[in-house]
Amino acid sequence: MARMKFLCDSERCIECNGCVTACKNANETEWGIQRRRVVTIDDGEPNETSISVACMHCTDAPCMAVCPTDCFYQTDDGIVLHDKDLCIGCGYCLFACPFGAPQFPQEEAFGERGKMDKCTFCAGGPEEDPVRQKELYGANRIAEGKLPLCAEMCSTKALLAGDAQVVSDIFRERVVYRGHKDGAWSAVTPGEMSEEEMAVRAEAFATDASSPVIAKA
């Protein structure tokens, strides 16, 4: 079974905000709601790094764990969705979420926040009527066999979306070809590895990800 994940390759992200625009366009979210955002750390410094972030569809999702209505559920693909009919707008998911993904259309006295909105991995939501589903939750591209539009439209292919195995294989391969010896945890020393060596490592990493040991972990 696939487990859907996003991954943003920080070395490729150029802060073009194309993903943000694509998301807004695909899902036609309410005014003021921006499901995806690009955050640039050390903006203007030599080590400026940008990352596109939205709901990361956590395997052990904190929003699910704290929701008092239990309106969240995970699809068979590991996509975290929520039922807006059940949502009471208490804000707990926002307090718990590591990525600041849940958003509310209002923020008024007496805790009036409206219904929570967040990235659905372009998988729509629990609503049979397609028109209403689109209104409430945005696009359901997954049902059409397509991946989230943000990743599909990423100009540098920094933002990857899809099965965790495939996504991590692609990333590992990139990382090795950049010259990292230890996954992605060190700086690159250019020319330290021969191209042949890189190819061997990339191969090893790629098969690693689909090995039963890693797949389990």
Binding site: R37, P46, T69, L86, I88, G100, A184
Partner: protein, 347 residues
């Protein structure tokens, strides 16, 4: 003029020397440029390679909650990782939630045991039929106003905390959907109303609730549980004063933290809300557990206690037994039974 003549003179006389100078200066400049710039270039190149890839230090920074730049206008959207979110989740789900159940369950068990083993406190002597006014209509109105809003908040709050674990399974999705939506509305709108009532009530009853030496003796005798003699008490006994101060300290904490949660209009960040939520959950569950004791004694636990809050009047025997010092003060205001008829329509 002088400069001009010198210049033209030099031009005429030393054309070759100027060219030589030019070459020297140019080569020196080039050399300077090379020596200065080559390490610079090398540095920025290395920096580019290192910096472009977000290494371990970068991720440490990100997971430490560093804020960056974003075009999103959402609050705290510049922060990539909400570090305290998971801590809050663990505290709420692992400590506050089961802790509250234990406090409420513990309180219930103690009271059930007290009822079964000790039984309700009966009046020692038969009623005389003569009554004293203990709570005037304002006091009673305040008490029941706070009591009813308290119960509404307690039940809606308990369902917000624990409802999802059993209501949907027992009564189905649509019932749960309506219930939890109602609970949130009740909790958020009655909360402020309760707060006002509570504060007015606490201020009104403040003067009766300062601890005295009598109360120490009352507590030492466990309110009459230790030894045979019923301890002395004024208008309020030690236990009642304890409940009063629990309402002051715990109750006002609940009110304060609830205000932070209920009015997210002051730009509260997630961190503030997490703290407010933990404090609100912990203290309100504790207060509810304590309130069970008050409810028990006020209803089935002590004979004659509920009358006071219901009709405003208590029997002479009850007053003498539970509040002897107060009885001594007010015994000249005793009213004979017939007046009880007048109270009846109020019931």
């Amino acid at each position: 003029m002088k400069t001009h003549s010198t210049h033209t003179g030099a031009n005429i006389t030393g054309n070759s020397s100027v060219q030589y100078l030019k070459v020297v200066v140019a080569s020196l400049l080039t050399l300077l440029c090379l020596t200065l710039s080559s390490p610079l270039w090398a540095d920025s190149a290395a920096e580019k390679v290192q910096g472009n890839f977000a290494g371990a230090d970068y991720w440490r920074e990100v997971s430490g909650g560093t804020e960056g730049y974003t075009t999103s206008k959402g609050r705290e959207h510049g922060q990539l990782i909400n570090v305290s979110g998971e801590t809050w989740r663990q505290w709420r789900n692992r400590w506050v939630s089961p802790g509250g159940l234990m406090a409420i369950g513990g309180s219930f068990s103690v009271l059930a045991l007290a009822y079964l083993l000790l039984g309700p406190m009966r009046l020692d002597k038969p009623r005389t039929g003569r009554k004293i006014e203990r709570w005037n209509p304002t006091d009673r109105a305040l008490h029941w106003f706070v009591a009813l809003t308290f119960l509404a908040l307690a039940f809606s709050g308990i369902l917000i905390m624990y409802g999802k674990h059993f209501i949907p399974d027992l009564f189905g999705y649509s019932f749960w959907k309506g219930t939890i939506a109602l609970c949130k509305l009740v909790h958020n709108y009655i909360g402020p109303i309760f707060s006002v009532g509570l504060i007015v009530m606490l201020l009104r009853w403040l003067k009766n609730n300062f601890f005295t030496k009598t109360d120490i003796i009352w507590f030492l005798q466990g309110g009459g549980l230790i030894g045979n003699k019923h301890p002395s008490a004024g208008f309020m006994n030690g236990g009642e004063k304890g409940w009063y101060w629990a309402l002051v300290f715990i109750g006002l904490t609940v009110v304060g933290s609830g205000f932070v949660l209920d009015f997210p209009i002051f730009g509260q960040v997630r961190d503030t809300m997490q703290w407010a939520n933990l404090i609100h959950g912990g203290t309100s569950l504790l207060l509810f557990a304590i309130s069970l004791g008050h409810i028990y004694i006020g209803t089935v636990g002590a004979e004659g206690a509920l009358e006071g809050m219901k009709t405003g009047y208590v029997d002479e025997t009850w007053a003498k037994q539970h509040h002897d010092l107060w009885y001594e003060e007010v015994k000249d205001q005793l009213i004979d039974e017939p007046l009880d008829e007048k109270e009846k329509p109020k019931k």
